[in-house]
Every structure is written in C-alpha cells, then in structure tokens.
C-alpha cells in the first residue's frame, strides 16, 4: 500500500514539475477566467453516519481559469478549478438533518484538437484533484461527523463549440472529469474518531482508491453568452462523488445550476 501511495505522490509531483516548465516565446496566449455561483439539490449518504439518505439544498461557488500554454506547439491548455459548497439536508422522515461542506481544487492539462474551422475544440488530459470537507449529522453522538479528505488523479475531457453570431456570439462547453487513482482518508467500519485522534490508533485510515472503490464522475455544461462588454456564463454541474472503502459506503450527488461572468485576458 505504501509503495502505491508513493507512486501516486510521484505522479502528482511530475505534474507539478511539468506545469513549472516555461518556454520563452513572446506570443499572446488567451486566459479565460470565470467565477460562478450556483444553487441546487444534493443527496447525502454515508453509512458511517446513517443507513438513510439525506436530501437537501446546496449553494456552490466555482472559480475557474483556463490558460493556453506554449507547450506542444501551443496545443496544451492549463485549467485550474476551485469550487466549494455548503449544504443542508434532511432525512425522509424529517427527524434529523445533516450539514455538509466541501472545497475542491483541481489542476488539469488538456491537449486541444481544433476542428470545423476552429469552431469545435476537443480537449483531453490528466487532472489532479484535492478534496477536503465534512458531513455532520446533528443527531448522532460518538459518530457525529465524517471528514472527507481525498486526492485523485483523473482523466478529463472537454468539448467546446463556438457559434460566431454577430449579435451574440455563443460558446458551449461540456466537460467530464473521471478519477481513476487516488488516496482517501476513511475511518474503519466501526472505528470512532476518538480512537483515531485522541488515542492515535489510525492504522488503515488512509486507503488507496481506484475506479472500483471510488466510481466518481463530475460533468458539467456551460454556455457563454457574449455581449458587448461582458460575457455571461450559465452552467449546470452534476457532481457524483461516491466511495466504497473500509466496508463503508458514501455518496454525495449534487445537481447545480450556476451563473457567473467570464473575463477574457491575454498573457505574453
């Protein structure tokens, strides 16, 4: 297990190293930044806390930056994505509630293929993800909360289509991110946080994950409406985080409708 975790960390470091390389050419490179705010539904489930699913509402903020690099003849773009949400949910009987929060940082490198006179752009590449959050059950005693800490390597794919209408140019985008390798913190099946943190009995709480243990998917769709001085972005995100580790099962399904503004910049 330790060798696998070391290998995983080496891959992460290699991605960082690659991102730190630069090529000195004075060519303008577009940078697209956006901040979006959203609201939507969430379904929380964690057998460490309860065998029952909780449904509720979440608010989310998403900050994204895509920057074209000079790597591979300018075909590689760098995407950083930061999102966070807060959620409140209730069980079906309405007798108990859960609060949840999560921040999620992503770093991706995409190779871009341009088609249809550059109106269509298909992108694919590796993505690194780090997640930190919690789910808190307001009624539980010695198992009141579950910490969510995990990092993944993911495959990321994106398709963008640009409609150069004179009145209102439109850009549609669909992106899908699929983790395939990672490490995750999880207590054992019946282990208390008292044992982990007060007594230091933490063996087996960091586990290696792959697609069969963490079949997670995040996909989202955005539409950029360009007006004279600003670009409005409308979006929908389906974030399906789930895991099956240490005989515990959890999921966190959310559907979010978002709105925000896009800033187009250039870098030399």
């Amino acid at each position: 297990m330790n060798r696998r975790i070391t290998l995983f960390l080496c891959v992460l470091c290699a991605m960082f190293h690659l991102s730190a390389q630069t090529v000195g050419e004075d060519v303008a490179r577009p940078i697209v930044r956006s901040t979006m705010y959203g609201v939507g539904s969430i379904n929380l489930y964690d057998t460490y806390l309860s065998p029952v699913e909780y449904s509720g509402t979440q608010v989310r903020v998403l900050r994204e930056s895509i920057r074209m690099t000079r790597w591979m003849e300018g075909h590689v773009s760098r995407q950083t994505l930061f999102q966070g949400y807060l959620a409140a949910a209730e069980n079906v009987a309405g007798t108990s509630s859960e609060l949840a929060g999560m921040v999620n940082w992503n770093y991706a490198l995409h190779y871009n293929w341009y088609l249809a006179d550059k109106r269509l752009c298909l992108s694919a590449g590796p993505m690194m993800q780090a997640h930190g959050g919690f789910t808190y059950n307001t009624r539980n005693g010695n198992n009141p909360a579950q910490a969510r800490l995990y990092a993944n390597l993911a495959a990321s794919g994106m398709a963008q289509y640009h409609l150069p209408w004179k009145c209102c140019p439109l850009t549609f985008r669909y992106q899908v991110d699929l983790p395939f390798l990672g490490v995750m913190f999880s207590p054992q099946y019946g282990q208390s946080y008292y044992e982990i943190f007060s007594l230091g009995h933490s063996d087996g709480t960091v586990v290696f994950t792959s697609f069969h243990r963490q079949p997670t998917l995040r996909h989202w769709f955005t539409a950029d409406l360009q007006f004279r001085r600003f670009t409005l972005r409308l979006g929908y995100m389906a974030d399906m985080q789930q895991a099956r580790v240490n005989a515990l099962r959890s999921h966190d399904y959310s559907h979010t409708f978002m709105i925000g503004l896009v800033h187009n910049l250039a870098s030399f």
Partner: protein, 338 residues
C-alpha cells in the same frame, strides 16, 4: 489533427460504467423498520460473541421470535414496544431506540440493585460552602479527608481546575472521589482526571472496533494508556466510591483508577457499559444507539457487565436514618479519618 477514436470510446465507457453506491434500503413499514433494526444490530453491535458466552444470546433466534410479532397494520406505538423489547435482549444500557414519545432502554443493570446513593445525604457531607472546579464539587470533611464529588463526566474539567482543586486539598490525609450515580460522559474528562493519580504511564485498557459486518470482525485491540499529568498529582491514599449507576465512561475511569497503587475502590459493583456507543436510525426516522467499540481491561477481560470493588459496601438503612452514608463512612475509616 485527427481525433483519436479511442478517446471518445474511453469517455463513453467510463461515463456509462459509473454505478450508484447505495446500501440495501428498507421500506418505511413495520416489517421494513424491524428488518432494518435487526440487520443494523447484526452488522454493527459489538458484543454478540461475549453475550452468547455469558447468557446464550442468539441473535438469529431473537429474529425468529420477534419477526412473528410484526404485522403490517400494527400501530407505531406497538411497533416501538416490540422493537424496544427486542433491543432489551442485548442487556445493554448503551442500546436505545428513540421516538418522539419515548426512549426504549434496558436499565436493569442498576434498577435491580440497591441504589447505594442518596443525594440528600450527600448534602450532609458537602454542606453549602463546598467549592466547584469544573464538573467537581469538593470540600474538606472534619477529619481532614478531602471529599470530591464528580456527578457526570459530561461536565468538563480542565487541567487548571484540577491543579487548583488538588492544591487546595493538598494538606488532607486522603481523598474520597465519589463517582456513584455518574452515568458517564466524555472519556477525555475521565482520563484527564485519572492522569492526576499515577506517576507512570499505565496501559489501563484495550480498545478495538469492528472492521466488517461479521460478529467477529474486529481490529487488533490497542492499548489505551493513561499518561501522568504534568500538573499537580495526588500522592496520598484515595477511596473511589462506586455503585451500580457508575456506568460507561465512569466504568472506564474506575477500571483505570483501580490499577493505581494508592486507590481503593469501595461500594458496589459498577454498572458496566464498556462499548462506546454509535448512533444510527431507522427508515421511519427513529434514532438508534448501540455499542460499537468495545473496551477491555488490562488482561483483556470484558468490562461490559461492570467492575467489582475492592471493598464491597452497601448503604444501611440505620445509617441512612441517621443521615450517614455508609460507603463514605467506610472510606473515611480506610483513609485514617474517623
């Protein structure tokens, strides 16, 4: 550049193969709630093997017996009573079922025994000018014996509280620490207090947890150590008073204290409760509590059904009629007081 066809295929395969992670769910019917509760206990309760040895508990047999009592049209209160009775088969004070109108419980571990505690008589010893440090009330009795009453480990106590209290009592010849009727609370409070009574690190107990759904799926027990406090530590004889209502975290505290050389446990057997309880719930929203992480003594002996005192004492009706607490009086004599 030509689009690699495999890219599309891979993305399609991955997106379509993401399956939902869910558990077997039960319907919100009398039968569904019964099945959910029985299975929850079957998979997560931690004392099946021990209780099978102690009194022949057979959880499958319990299922057969109670399943026949469940009908699809039974009222909610009837279901609550049947489920409460089923949980009582576990003979565990940490197992409860909570509805809006009642709490199902098993309290025979103290209800079937003498109380050995009387709050009115305690007032004769504490008086009205006692001092309070965190969750402790304390005073000095007229024979220069310190009396400290810790009624609940749910009430916090800090290291500053403990140092100041022990400093105040430093000139006493001995200390009576009364944890009768202390039904438990935070283990960290109990351990912080215990750390004032040892000069060396002691592995006082062992704790483990379930690693799977089988009745014998447990982690390797790991030592729970009491490390001496850096603050003031008590170096004189201690009488630790217990009764059947000394339960849960208090049971754990008594187990630790009985291993320190200057401590004598006096009174009645403790109530037990050595499984740290977890919470869960049923499809109809009723909350459930059950023992999840068992604690064992220093020789891996079970503590679930209590700890015997070094000196067994019951309160007598004659002493009570005179306003005396027999157990406190025995402790005073033991410590060189009266």
């Amino acid at each position: 550049m030509r689009i690699p066809a495999f890219l599309t295929v891979v993305i399609l395969l991955l997106t379509t193969s993401v399956s939902c992670i869910r558990e077997e769910s039960f319907e919100n019917t009398p039968q569904g709630n019964f099945e959910a509760l029985w299975q929850m206990m079957d998979e997560r309760y931690c004392f099946f093997e021990y209780k099978h040895q102690e009194y022949g508990l057979d959880w499958d047999e319990v299922y057969s017996r109670y399943a026949s009592l469940i009908t699809s049209d039974m009222p909610s209160k009837g279901l609550f009573e049947v489920l409460g009775n089923m949980l009582a088969e576990l003979r565990d004070g940490h197992v409860n079922l909570y509805s809006n109108y009642d709490v199902a419980r098993y309290w025979k571990w103290y209800e079937d025994y003498p109380a050995n505690f009387n709050d009115s008589i305690i007032r004769n010893y504490l008086g009205t000018d006692y001092k309070i440090a965190g969750g402790c009330k304390y005073t000095i009795l007229d024979d220069n014996i310190a009396y400290v009453r810790y009624a609940s480990f749910a009430s916090g106590i800090g290291n500053g509280n403990l140092s100041d209290m022990l400093n105040e009592l430093a000139f006493c010849n001995g200390l009576i620490l009364d944890v009768r009727d202390n039904g438990g609370g935070m283990l960290t409070n109990a351990q912080r207090l215990a750390a004032r009574f040892t000069n060396e690190e002691v592995a006082t107990s062992y704790m483990c947890h379930k690693t799977g759904k089988g009745h014998s799926d447990f982690s390797s027990p790991e030592a729970v150590k009491i490390t001496p406090s850096d603050g003031i530590r008590w170096q004189k004889p201690v009488a630790l008073l217990t009764n059947r209502s000394s339960y849960s975290a208090t049971n754990d505290f008594v187990n630790a204290m009985r291993q320190f050389p200057l401590v004598t446990v006096i009174g009645d057997r403790t109530g037990g409760g050595s499984g740290m309880p977890f919470s869960s719930e049923l499809p109809n929203g009723w909350a459930v509590r059950f023992s999840a992480c068992p604690t064992y003594g220093p020789d891996m002996e079970p503590l679930e059904f209590g700890i015997s005192p070094d000196i067994r004492v019951d309160m007598t009706s004659e002493d009570m009629a005179r306003g005396l607490d027999t157990i406190i009086e025995v402790a005073r004599k033991r410590l060189g007081g009266r």
